[in-house]
Symmetry: C2
């Protein structure tokens, strides 16, 4: 335990200046003489002064804290997002409060209200339901800037960071078409969320653009951690099996690979595989798996910029919503090949 709580007055007293001057030094204000600055800084160091963040927040109306709400941090996608966000914001002295929405509107509302009450400077969130009216109403009533993480809520004033799922899916499909694959299975989580919607959109668009009818090869799982094993196995043993698969997320991918192996097919000789999302698993698998990958650092930088633009006044709080689109890169590895 430390001896006693040092206040800014103690610093000012020791430095022989006023509280105001000490405050100005603390806040890196411009109009401070080098002499005063030196004295104050010395006193601060001497006393091991630790300013009260709470008092500063109350007076300056800025908590330097960002509220984050994702459905579930055990989803590796969100864990990665959060980690890079924390890195990015930490550099500017911000910290992140993390809440779980669990795709439950009530819980999401509660979390967002807490962010409001606690005076978050900004919010980054990915609500489970983009059309929930209570959510839209609450978000529009909140006083801080909001960035949506891969969600479209056109009735809100929130900025959005969107992944280019359509482009990514088209790229993957087109290359598979070029390899001679015309029956591509698609394994996804069965949610009515933007990522899933847009991936299916891109998948169908790719087929249409190639002059083909999109086949009935979409597998939708109840949760992101479901097993696609049984369904894919049935499909592979059916009359018109796919010759390639695009799968979202590690769990679905792993169980899909098991099903493929079970039928005696080898990757990539007999069957091509593409992962939506890159991970240690895709990279270290044998063979390494071709993946659609996003640049988490870049995404975090975008999210931070969207928020800080508004916080700094570079962009008016009331200015219309802005959108940043983040691309997918197609990382080509050994899990796909020309159809034999």
């Amino acid at each position: 335990m430390q001896d006693k709580k040092i206040r800014i007055q103690d610093v000012a007293a020791m430095a022989g200046v006023s509280v105001g001057s000490a405050s100005r030094v603390l806040n890196q204000a411009a109009n401070v003489s080098p002499d005063v600055r030196a004295k104050v800084e010395h006193a601060m160091a001497q006393l091991e002064y630790q300013p009260s963040h709470t008092a500063r927040a109350l007076r300056s109306r800025s908590s330097r804290t960002i509220g984050c709400m994702f459905s579930d941090i055990t989803n590796p996608l969100y864990a990665r997002a959060f980690r890079t966000l924390e890195d990015a914001f930490r550099a500017d002295g911000y910290m992140l409060l993390l809440a779980h929405g669990l795709n439950d509107v009530e819980r999401e509302l509660e979390s967002l209200r807490t962010f409001q009450t606690r005076g978050m400077d900004g919010v980054i969130c990915a609500p489970g339901h983009e059309r929930a009216p209570e959510l839209v109403a609450l978000m529009n009533s909140m006083s801080m800037p909001i960035v949506l993480y891969d969600r479209e809520m056109p009735d809100t004033r929130a900025d959005a960071l969107l992944f280019d799922h359509v482009r990514g899916m088209k790229d993957a499909c087109n290359q598979l078409f070029a390899f001679g694959h015309e029956r591509i299975a698609l394994a996804l989580w069965n949610a009515d969320s933007r990522p899933v919607r847009k991936r299916i959109e891109g998948y169908k668009a790719a087929y249409c653009a190639a002059g083909m009818e999109p086949p009935d090869l979409i597998l939708r799982q109840p949760t992101p951690t479901s097993s696609v094993y049984e369904d894919l196995l049935r499909m592979l043993e059916g009359p018109a099996p796919p010759t390639a698969l695009i799968a979202q997320g590690t769990h679905i991918l792993v169980s899909a690979l098991r099903a493929v192996a079970r039928t005696g097919r080898r990757v990539p000789q007999d069957f091509s595989v593409v992962s939506i999302g890159d991970s240690d698993f895709t990279q270290t698998h044998d063979p390494p798996i071709t993946a659609l990958r996003t640049d988490a650092e870049l995404v975090a930088a975008h999210a931070k910029a969207l928020l800080l633009d508004r916080l700094s006044g570079r962009v008016q709080i009331v200015a219309p919503p802005r959108t940043v689109v983040a691309p997918y890169a197609l990382i080509e590895r050994a899990s796909w090949a020309t159809r034999r």
Copy 2:
């Protein structure tokens, strides 16, 4: 945006009572007449009053916020821990600030200092180095209760939540011994952290208790996401190969399974496998994998109790450190069998 900021004075005025009474209602104080309570609550609802968390924190010296510091939230173990912790604390109106330590002492120090500055009511953390003197010194200088998450830092005043790795490893080894396996490989992350130390301790203790010399079958990986593929393959193709494996974490497990499959061994007929840590992967794998599992909810409840005991005064802030040991359960599945 909402029209204007409602303060507690507005509520009091509308209810026709003093701010003191309004505050008492807000804080669920006992000595408030039902009449006043009703009037205040009505006014609050009417005005959609949202109390300023910052002002309450400043005045009451409690932020109702817990600082969490784990090495990396992308580690599924910590993601799961954080999720259950957030659940547990949310029920009591606490929120969690999450920082990454990345096993970097400088960064850990910075995070902990921030927790102090920001007036966290408590801290839950798992520093990468249990003996770093600066860390010990800083933790002892901090004014809020601290709970260590599976770390032993005897020179600090922090409470600790410890997993019973030794017991867990002994249980797994003993059953494998009973199955006739005498050469058990152990694949771990190569850190000098409590979990790894204790697992090796339990492994060796099990061998000694069974009257055997611990074999030289421990594989240590540079990171928790490394591949153990090459090393295990070499071991399996060597002169005295293991007949069973205990592996820590999904990544190491996945690459180990690949190596086993590569040598033509089948699980469990030719080779038994145990996972340290249970996950969707171990449960949905074919065959399902025997796992050492902890009860995340129970662990979170323990951590919360350790902290809240001190915050509520049930346990003195200065009372000596306490320790809670969380057991591992051995979930027996089809990935192990009698040696043939």
